[in-house]
Symmetry: C2
Subunit: 160 residues, 2 copies
DNA sequence: GGCAAAATGTCAACATGACTGACATAAAAT
DNA sequence: ATTTTATGTCAGTCATGTTGACATTTTGCC
């Protein structure tokens, strides 16, 4: 079958075929990248949303609910359900903020850390394989492009 | 469990911080990359699933339902709902296969092509910006890493 | 010719994760 | 003292995925 053909690249630019390849790589990489953890999560009765919460709370212990909402860019009602399940089942701990007592500072329990590890190690291994195969130079290129695709790489990722 | 807790130094050149950065870049890039089309789709009463169908049918006119299922890796029941809406509303056309009359060969109508364009051009512009800013060398690195992250870059992407 | 397998469609029930809108409480900031 | 912020909660809805079961048409094989 003849797929759509695109004009050759103009100097210094990229043609539509190359750009579309990137669109597709994002889809395929993300699809495969999330498949393994999804399978593990299903065994716990959890979904991808739980993984995201566990991941970012593990990455930034002591973060507030606001911080998390800012990173995930979902509504607090959506987050609430997932977070409540994780707290109720002892994966995430909440402690009242010291300076600001309205805040609930989030962190992983030992149980939460264990789950985070089992989920993330698959993804880390996948990335490590890809990085090692591609080499340091390629990884630097990958970083540049990924940051360029992201709206504002500094937002929603502040240290907490 | 028998998993290795800490990667042996010989395993690769990249530390966990660098690998985790990649995990996060995938999340943030994908999140922002899908936000713009999602907004447009919402105006049509469609979702991201419709976009994926429109995208791949546009990319591979004449593809079969089987081909599409192989790419999207969802169940036929999930696809059916989305596809039926797109066909009913005149975005996607189905014609019986010539050689194999069981097949429904999919393609975009003029209306479908217009929607595909309006959705994809935002994403193409985003990628083009990132590619131009990063440079040819970085784009090649990006490609290598993304292909390495994907399970089998040749599968689910065959020419139809 | 007969029959199994393939390509597709469809019905039903359900889970997950997102949304909007409204309202409540406690603490901080003004 | 009042407003704003951080958080929580209830209720309803929607989009997208799942499993399981079954039907139709067509192809390919013995």
């Amino acid at each position: 079958m003849t797929d759509i053909k695109f004009p050759p690249p103009a100097a210094g630019h990229f043609n539509e075929g190359q750009l579309r390849e990137a669109i597709e790589m994002l889809f395929f990489a993300y699809r495969d990248f999330t498949a393994e953890p999804d399978a593990i999560l299903a065994g716990h009765g959890f979904g991808r949303a739980h993984h995201r919460v566990i991941y970012f709370v593990g990455r930034h212990p002591g973060m507030t609910v606001s911080d998390l909402l800012g990173i995930l860019k979902i509504t607090k009602q959506s987050l609430a359900r997932v977070l409540r399940e994780l707290v109720d089942q002892g994966f995430v701990a909440q402690v009242q903020g010291e300076r600001d007592k309205r805040q609930r500072r989030l962190s992983l329990t030992a149980k939460g850390l264990a789950l985070e590890k089992s989920l993330t190690e698959r993804q880390l291994a996948r990335i490590a394989r890809a990085f090692d195969a591609a080499g340091v130079q390629s990884v630097e290129g990958f970083r540049k492009v990924m940051l360029g695709i992201t709206d504002d790489p500094s937002l929603g990722r502040k240290s907490v």
